[in-house]
Amino acid sequence: MTRSDANDVDHPKSGGTRQLTRFLDRQDLEVLIQRLTDDGYQVVGPTVDQGAIVYGDITTSADLPIGWTDLQEAGRYRLQRRDDDAYFGYVVGPHSWKKYLFPPVTVVASADRTEVGWQMSTPDETPPRYAFLGVRACELAAMKIQDKVFTGGPFVDPIYQARRNAAFVIAVNCTQAAPTCFCTSMNTGPRCSSGFDLALTEVVDGFLVEVGSDAGNELIQRLPVTEATSKQLARGETSRQQAVDQITKRMDTGGIQSLLMDNLRHPQWQDLATRCLSCTNCTMVCPTCFCSSVSEVSDLTGDHIDRERSWDSCFNIDFSYMNGGPTRNSIASRYRQWLTHKLATWHDQFGTSGCVGCGRCITWCPVGIDLTQEVAAIRSSPGLKADDIERDASSNGEAAS
């Protein structure tokens, strides 16, 4: 591995020695998909649907967004035809792979009324075996982050873990970047360095293929690959460098934990509240956001209950509801929770930032809020640590028991 970063976890896929880079002819991408399908994997990857590039089932390479690219900026996303037939000539869409590993809706437990009272159970299902085709470096980083959240303990989410263990990961190196991308600031990309079984770099007539695991090595033996020529390698390097060169957005992460946590009363939060709609889009598209709620879903008899876990968001007012009212009653407090968690307290909790720099929250924010600009605004006028403790204390002086 050429690069180590804070997001690296102890993971079999991050080990191993780098092998020869191979070359897969463009038309043989079909063979890769077929081999995975024959091996029992459900191949999922980018498809064009609903005016965006979203992840869905892939049965043939024709399902991929051939010749499409995405134009992104704060609050804006559009598809556009490319002047070539690239399979992976786009950046990232609104979906992330978390929808497969941490499903938007899933049953975590059930209850049945019996003659001897309520009996509880947990689902005993064989996890789907996904082959993820087209995972970007920032998304590999996001998976490593969610690995820590869901499997780092003290408790392990069995649903995430089973799906993650069963998954086969084919990464694709970015050869272009959007104005919303800032993975280089977060040390997550654009180069895929670990956490994959195979990694592809798309060049004009095919793909450079790197092996990242034993499973990847086993599969590549059954693919019609050749040893990559120095010319092909150079082309790949040029393509990957193009992505690096296109990244213009930066976020200064220096001392970001104390920057944000020392400024919990900064006026920027109020300024944000005048723009943020608290719509939850940023948390839905974020590849690391993991908040959820369990609700009770009863059948008509009321004798069988499923406990259904759904994605939730710290931007929902009910999210912090506690005997009598929400703890975070204002948009300012909810945005502050999201941003401080993502960029600051995530470090305390999981030893890594919760942000991978994919830019989705910027693109999909309906009013175009850009978190990197909000951080910069706080950084440009820090020190407003108006410590209201004394004032708070004197205004809450009643009902002390």
Partner: protein, 288 residues
């Protein structure tokens, strides 16, 4: 891939699985508050279940949902697991309509506990406000079960009114066992001859002969705990000798759902009991 296999084997039990428990006894405590003694249906689980003072369980009423409730019983006794519950929302109101013999679900125990081991050889002050006495009762039982190991042990109880005092029938037993019990109410009634005012006023005049060697554990409304820790520090107690038990919306109890975050802390797995200096910087931030 065998991702994180180590942590999986360390915790093989599916943390989403609730055990069936039967309501064995219901004790009406105060208006709207009752203690439910729960017994695991599975004898093996019953035998194995242990908890530390301050830990909580998720009680589950199928079709209604789960609630996080601190265990209010004696950690040295097995069998019946008591939970003192105030009617507050859908789940607790429905629970109040159940009778002895009904079954519900239980996951737990979860969370960090009061520093009972650190209390050995030291003076201890427990400050409880209202229902906040329930999560502290296991500490009382624990300390009194081996009373000689500790110095002065004082319990300061505050309640809105005399009728709202929790477990009053036990106070004499506790006093006989070596606990200094101090009680105060916000509002008096004609028959009340005790203290009137906030727990902080009582704390202010409490004899604290060795403040540098005194631990204070408090549970109650956040504002009460805030004034309690401020008052304790004014009396010479160290911030690292003060413990609070916090409350936030709790959904999964296993650190996976995000609801109970308080700054960097997950209340379910890092708390609910915190050493005060760990949360001091964010304790009084509005809407955090």
């Amino acid at each position: 891939m065998n991702l994180a296999a180590a942590s999986a084997t360390a915790n093989p039990h599916n943390p989403w699985l609730a055990h069936t428990v039967r309501i064995d006894r219901i004790v009406k405590e105060t208006p709207g508050v009752a203690t439910y003694d729960l017994v695991f249906e599975d004898a093996a689980v019953r035998k194995k279940f242990t908890f530390r003072p301050g830990q909580f369980n998720m009680l589950y009423l199928p079709g209604l949902g789960e609630i996080a409730i601190s265990i209010s019983g004696d950690p040295n006794q097995t069998g019946r697991v008591p939970h003192t519950i105030r009617e507050a929302g859908n789940v607790t109101r429905t629970l109040a309509e159940l009778s002895v013999g009904s079954t519900i679900g239980l996951r737990g125990p979860f969370g960090a506990w009061w520093p009972v081991d650190e209390c050995v050889g030291r003076d201890v002050v427990l400050v409880a406000g209202g229902i906040g006495l329930a999560p502290l009762r296991p500490v009382i039982y624990d300390l009194l079960s081996d009373r000689e190991r500790y110095g002065r042990v004082t319990l300061v109880i505050g309640a809105r009114e005399p009728a709202a005092l929790l477990y009053p029938s036990e106070y004499d037993d506790w006093i006989r066992a070596g606990l200094d019990v101090q009680v105060t109410v916000d509002r008096s009634v004609g028959t009340w001859h005790g203290n009137i005012g906030m727990v902080t006023a009582l704390l202010h005049r409490l004899p604290l002969p060795d403040p540098g060697n005194t631990l204070l554990l408090t549970c109650g409304p956040e504002v009460m705990m805030w004034y309690t820790v401020q008052g304790a520090m004014e009396r010479g107690l160290k911030a690292e000798s003060l413990y609070v038990s916090l409350e936030r919306n709790m959904n999964c109890a296993i650190g996976l759902c995000g609801h109970c975050q308080f700054g960097p802390q997950f209340l379910c797995k890092d708390g609910p009991v915190f050493r005060y200096d760990k949360v001091a910087s964010i304790f009084k931030v509005d809407d955090l």
